[in-house]
């Protein structure tokens, strides 16, 4: 008698539809970035905090299962990143990995995630190569990319009459990518590229290249580099009096860089960012929460990690599972609107097309408080600044 009841109960259980399939009974987010090296200021611990804020906003649970966070330092090395990700996927039960300053680390992990069916959401990995030949269906390049950043700044400057451009480019793939994307936009707007110099990466003294740029008499000296290179180049451009007669346009800057340069040297510069903490009430409210913990305002990369994590968890909730393909399908259905991303739609090639900001750096007198650095000159619609889908990306050409 008892056995029959038991068997019936078992059969009943087996026939219940599985309500929520969460692998390993936990949803785990991994933040993989540079915690100690050249990109630690724009991502680093701040990204970890940002992810944590997103998890807390979801109440720490999704589909009744706990959400956990792990993080590690890939030291900007693709093999370290690949190793860590592999371990996370095979043994660590990690479902989604995010951040990735240094695109080569993103590409390495994207490859492994494709094999193991996991989601990758680069926030600080910005090169358009992620959307090109190496694209995967499980990748969402969340915050922005080199093309979108360059397009906004380039178009605005050329429209102002600054038609001749000289590039100072960091001699590695990322720098080349920035230069190529910006050149395309300049030429499309009937501007001209009068010359380019490649400097070793990382560089420290840009005097020679700046002087060459000065001799070219170009309207704009575009800096196709990032981080310390950009900061040093701008400082030195000031020293040589170049910034007085020619426009110095950095193609990739974070608010942390402007903080390092100082408003006195950076004032008047045009640049594009995906996020500015002081944009509106929503972004301010979130940024304040971030500031309480990190004592610095969030960079666009860190804000991107928050948004990516938040929306990933929402997608898991809506899809009823953390299985990678289902979550990606769900993400593509959503229109993303949060404190960071406005009017965002995830494209098939992995680009999250959303509004970008054209900003100008304030003069020291105009800044009322620390981190009050930018004037918002324009909101750029995603469709206007994002690159078209690259035909080399296989998944999008169906």
């Amino acid at each position: 008698m008892k056995l029959k009841g038991f068997a019936l109960g078992l059969a009943a259980c087996a026939s219940l539809p599985s309500l929520a399939q969460v692998s390993d009974d936990v949803v785990k987010i991994g933040v993989l970035n540079d915690l100690s090296g050249i990109y630690s200021d724009l991502s680093g611990q701040g990204s970890v905090t940002a992810a944590r804020l997103a998890i807390e906003e979801m109440g720490g649970k999704v589909l009744g299962k706990p959400v956990e966070l792990v993080f590690a330092d890939h030291q900007n090395k693709p093999d370290v990143a690949a190793n860590l990700a592999r371990g996370w996927f095979d043994q660590g039960k990690v479902d989604m990995v995010t951040d990735f300053p240094t695109t080569s680390t993103a590409l390495a992990v994207m490859e492994i995630a494709k094999q193991k069916n996991r989601v990758v959401m680069p926030s600080s990995g910005l090169a358009t190569s992620i959307l090109g030949e190496k694209c995967t269906p499980l990748t969402a390049q969340w915050t922005t990319n080199t093309y979108a950043l360059a397009a906004g700044t380039a178009r605005a400057l050329v429209k102002e009459g600054k038609k001749s451009w000289y590039f100072i480019t960091a001699d590695y793939t990322f720098g080349h990518s920035l230069e190529k994307d910006a050149s395309e936009v300049v030429k499309a707007e009937q501007g001209t590229v009068v010359g380019a110099s490649r400097h070793p990466f990382p560089g420290s003294d840009f005097s020679s290249f700046l002087l060459k740029a000065q001799a070219s008499k170009a309207d704009v000296i575009a800096l196709a580099n990032a981080g310390n290179d950009t900061v040093n180049a701008i400082k030195q451009a000031n020293e040589y009096g170049i910034s007085r007669k020619q426009v110095v346009a950095p193609l990739l800057t974070y608010i942390s860089d402007v903080h390092s340069i100082g408003l006195d040297k950076a004032q008047g510069m045009y640049l594009s960012e995906a996020f500015y903490w002081d944009y509106d009430e929503k972004s301010r409210a979130w940024a304040r929460k971030f500031f309480e913990r990190q004592k610095r305002m969030p960079t666009a990369a860190q804000a991107g990690v928050y948004s990516a994590t938040l929306n990933y968890l929402k997608a898991v909730e809506a899809a009823g599972t953390d299985e990678a393909k289902a979550v990606m399908a769900q993400l593509r259905k959503m229109t993303i609107n949060d404190a960071v991303i406005r009017n965002g739609k995830l494209r098939e090639d992995g680009a999250l097309v959303h509004d970008m900001l054209l900003l100008q750096v304030k003069a020291p007198a105009e800044s009322k408080a620390p981190w009050d650095y930018y004037k918002v000159k324009a909101v750029l619609k995603g469709a206007d600044v994002y690159p078209p889908i690259n035909p080399a990306c296989q998944i999008a050409s169906k």
Partner: protein, 339 residues
């Protein structure tokens, strides 16, 4: 029957747990162990040069990295067309030996610190080439290197298959180094290390010995690099960078120069350190720096070297005690062989 030397005895003892690793992935993650084995082989190759020949090279990453690139590009472009993975590995080793010949024949013209500086300068050139040559992928690196099929049918894409293959190559490499060190050629190298002028006066062609040792070391380092490229399916600029050369120096120093197992112990420690402290960021650099300082100041023989010395002391004390006892006849037995 000749007694089995200590290093081989240790190898046999470790073989059983090593064979069981894929069965217990939670205890020992197979990909991690494979990475350790590759770097251990790299360190063994390096030790051949620094520990047994007394030559310090600051450019070993050139062999490690370029072999990886060679194997990688061959597998990516030609494995679908039927290129066997064994051939790709052999090609990688060949490239490493070639670069070893090129750098070595220039470097051995000088000695001591000048030799080291030449290896440094030339490996920087090798790095520059890796950055400029398009097919290495620059700092994106080479990703998705297919592992291929061993002997045409064993799919190395399965982690456990790759693991046994890596283990086999490591054991072969270890035995090869052991053989070289204990051969007449090895004796010549040690003589060279201890007193080069005397070795020359005894009739050894020291320059040729050094070049052969250099090329051998380069080839083994290349083998390690090719293997690593297949294990992690990735080859990047990091592998040819100066930091990799200093890393292998640290591994060998930490483990013990001139010992058989020292480099392996050192490699295991350094790789584990980097893995487990990955969340700590800048602190890892500080720890590595402190390790260098402590090792060089107090621990010059390295962990295995110190262990050896401690064991020798105990054996000597025991022997002294035994000699005081009148009943003991005959010699105390063979010297404790080096570990």
């Amino acid at each position: 029957m000749k007694a089995v030397p200590a290093p081989i005895r240790i190898l046999l003892a470790l073989l059983l747990p090593a064979l069981l690793v894929p069965a217990f992935p939670e205890l020992a993650y197979p990909v991690f162990v494979m990475k350790v084995l590759c770097y251990a082989l790299f360190a063994l190759a390096f030790n051949l040069l620094i520990g047994f020949t007394g030559l310090v090279s600051f450019g070993h990453a050139a062999f490690f990295g370029w072999a990886g690139y060679t194997t990688g590009i061959l597998m990516i472009r030609l494995s679908a067309a039927g290129l066997p993975v064994e051939l790709a590995i052999v090609a990688g080793v060949a490239v490493a030996v070639a670069i070893g010949w090129a750098i070595g024949s220039l470097a051995i013209r000088r000695t001591g610190i000048y030799f080291a500086m030449i290896t440094l300068a030339l490996s920087q050139v090798a790095y520059f080439l890796a950055v400029q040559i398009k097919w290495t992928g620059g700092e994106d690196g080479m990703q998705g290197i297919p592992r291929g099929r061993l002997l045409g049918f064993i799919d190395l894409g399965v982690d456990s298959h790759m693991y046994y293959f890596t283990l086999a190559v490591f054991v072969a490499g270890f035995l090869a180094v052991h053989r070289v060190v204990n051969s007449p050629f090895g004796q010549a190298l040690k003589a060279l290390r201890d007193n080069e002028p005397r070795a020359t006066s005894l009739g050894y062609d020291t320059d040729r010995c050094k070049l052969y040792a250099f090329m051998l070391s380069a080839g083994l380092a290349g083998l390690a690099g090719s293997l690593k490229a297949l294990v992690l399916q990735l080859s990047s600029l990091n592998d040819v960078m100066l930091s990799t050369s200093t890393e292998v120096l640290l591994m060998t120093l930490l483990g013990g120069l001139g010992t058989s197992w020292g480099p392996v112990v050192g490699a295991a420690l350094v790789v584990s350190l980097q893995n487990h402290l990955a969340a700590l960021g800048g602190v890892v650099t500080i720890i590595i720096g402190l390790t260098f300082i402590v090792c060089v100041s107090f621990f010059r023989r390295g962990l295995v070297g110190e262990l050896q010395a401690a064991l020798k002391r105990r054996t000597r004390i025991r022997e002294q005690h035994e000699q005081h006892r009148p009943e003991i006849l005959g010699s105390p037995g063979e010297q404790a062989s080096s570990v």
